[in-house]
Symmetry: D2
Subunit: 216 residues, 4 copies
Amino acid sequence: MSELDIYKQQGFGNRSGFGNKPALVIVDFVNGFNDPTAFGGGNIPEAIAQTAILLAACRKHGVPVAYTRVVYADDGSDHGVFCLKAPSLKNLTETSPLSQVVPELEPQRGEYILRKTQPSAFFGTNFTNWLTSNGIDTLLVTGCTTSGCVRATVIDSMSSNFRTIVVKDGVGDRALGPHEANLFDMEQKYADLMTTAEIVAHLEKSSKPVRTAAKR
Amino acid sequence: MSELDIYKQQGFGNRSGFGNKPALVIVDFVNGFNDPTAFGGGNIPEAIAQTAILLAACRKHGVPVAYTRVVYADDGSDHGVFCLKAPSLKNLTETSPLSQVVPELEPQRGEYILRKTQPSAFFGTNFTNWLTSNGIDTLLVTGCTTSGCVRATVIDSMSSNFRTIVVKDGVGDRALGPHEANLFDMEQKYADLMTTAEIVAHLEKSSKPVRTAAKR
Amino acid sequence: MSELDIYKQQGFGNRSGFGNKPALVIVDFVNGFNDPTAFGGGNIPEAIAQTAILLAACRKHGVPVAYTRVVYADDGSDHGVFCLKAPSLKNLTETSPLSQVVPELEPQRGEYILRKTQPSAFFGTNFTNWLTSNGIDTLLVTGCTTSGCVRATVIDSMSSNFRTIVVKDGVGDRALGPHEANLFDMEQKYADLMTTAEIVAHLEKSSKPVRTAAKR
Amino acid sequence: MSELDIYKQQGFGNRSGFGNKPALVIVDFVNGFNDPTAFGGGNIPEAIAQTAILLAACRKHGVPVAYTRVVYADDGSDHGVFCLKAPSLKNLTETSPLSQVVPELEPQRGEYILRKTQPSAFFGTNFTNWLTSNGIDTLLVTGCTTSGCVRATVIDSMSSNFRTIVVKDGVGDRALGPHEANLFDMEQKYADLMTTAEIVAHLEKSSKPVRTAAKR
């Protein structure tokens, strides 16, 4: 029996669907993660290009947008276990070029910038209450890495009861094996996978997005 | 360049080490996850057997022990997105045999039982404050599935700044591809991997465990 | 200058208003808090009577309802600092009559029962994600004590960006000084105060409640 | 029966005690809260003066120090319900003089600065994991206002199972009625009250502070 068959037989892999009010979160698409000599590589450049298309559509249709940046204190006062596992994270500080959102996705005034020190966009941040404040029921996730901060964000998004959609071609990773493995895990258990084109089409169908899939 | 080389070159994969005061969490080793016709299969039985050895050592050395169970309300009042992705989770209720800790790991009086509805042992629970209350700095993680609730628990443990150790032979999964892929991700970014034998030896060395590895 | 004048001059005491989709939370109206020889007394019986009226209206208009109970483990495995400050809390266990919802407010099937060990209904629970799952933007708070678990719940509700309404005659306390002092603090900084009659009238005006007050 | 008698009879008002490893948090002692034309007044200046004494002692004895600042985005992207209740909070931005720590308590390199948008130092921040990272079991709380962000921080500190000590003369409020009422509530249910002099004496007794009071 294939792995996919095992999951299917045990009742995983259903769709949670697209709700009524989505937001877009762009996870860690900062210069350092688009630089193979820092934390980048793999298919991250292509994922940024797709995210630029989705970002334009979200702005057009009034979908709220949030960006995450990894930001540690210059003086190391907030370094923790993550910096033991990956000490080079300490280079991501407020003013470091490595920690600025990539120029292709330059944030606009009023879009929400989240600073974080841990993998998930939800951990130790006000992201949940920003989503509540905006009446969001569905979170579209792009960014990098698929096997790192995207995966962590997706688990917390689902756990917070937001219908969660991983933008399949809008997430990237420095290495393709973990990228694929994590897409599999997320689709089976936490999120639906949709392409940029499918989501743009969904947003186009109505300026007020409509519920399509699973009922709850 | 191999995937491992990419991670090494970018500064991942260091050890966070063993602190001074560990606790053990046993994630979702309940009957339903030890039954291939429910959520089980793969190498889960072997992982339970190893966890029984580690549990005995933890009890001997006074290491606090916590267990997680997935428990949903009988009347469905707490069903959410996770139950859309995997509707069979709804069968895990307070009195269902599927949701009782496996007999090999029967909890003792005074050990902590966590009820949860989401993947991570930390999400929507009092686990962090139980760890604080016990002065814990290091979390040993066994349980299942490696690619599901173990991974989610490990991310939150590391994010909470507990040195996190995945018991390599004490975690199991219904399918071995995701098991291996998630061990790779966790070792590179979030946790150290140690075998049951290595941890038992470490606990034996001193009734008061001593710090061995990385400095902070 | 009176205390109220100081708050007014500094810009506090505005209304946050009633949103589009309210839920009701009934905090700790369990037998032990309606018994002056346990944790009760003061104006708690009157607040329970008013809450019964509001509960009936919420059920009629489809407003989701949650109840909190303080529940500690029989074996003390989850006792913490709160039990040092008030050791008699340890008597509130799953099966203790003290910890059952009062008969006047008997929960119905499908209403959400939250077990908690800390003052706030949000701390260490899945309350936020239950609210998200129901698309809630406004939380109506009744229960006891005003100066304890109600106040703690109200701070977290506001912090989570739910418009928060304290039901002025639906909250009670064992002692009236703290009751009044905490109503003052909550109205100035965190929540609007409304009477049961005002809220019932608001719900009556429309089966789909309409936004009345402050814009955001 | 007096209010104090009611609390005593019901088992409240015990001491949780001083643990082995304290940290100090200084809540919102920023210029805007030391200015009666902004958010200040009352006994806040005296509380700052006492906190300066305690801060010096903490630095001398190696007690980790954290400061909170209320910081909202310049573009309003993170405004929420708190800004509806008190719109003047919006003036507290990263570079506003109102939002800088008062000169008497100038942070030193390596001390932890927490930016927050909600009352509690714990809400939407990494404060819990900073405390974990430092092995803290006891939190000393100074700052303002007693009836606002101090109270909210104290509830979360106790809920997180840190032994919590409110520095009685190191917390201040714009109005003395709420100041006194909240000291009463906190002492009865959440925290011990100690003066600056008592805490300094406790720290002096040993460079490695020793446990004094309640056992758990």
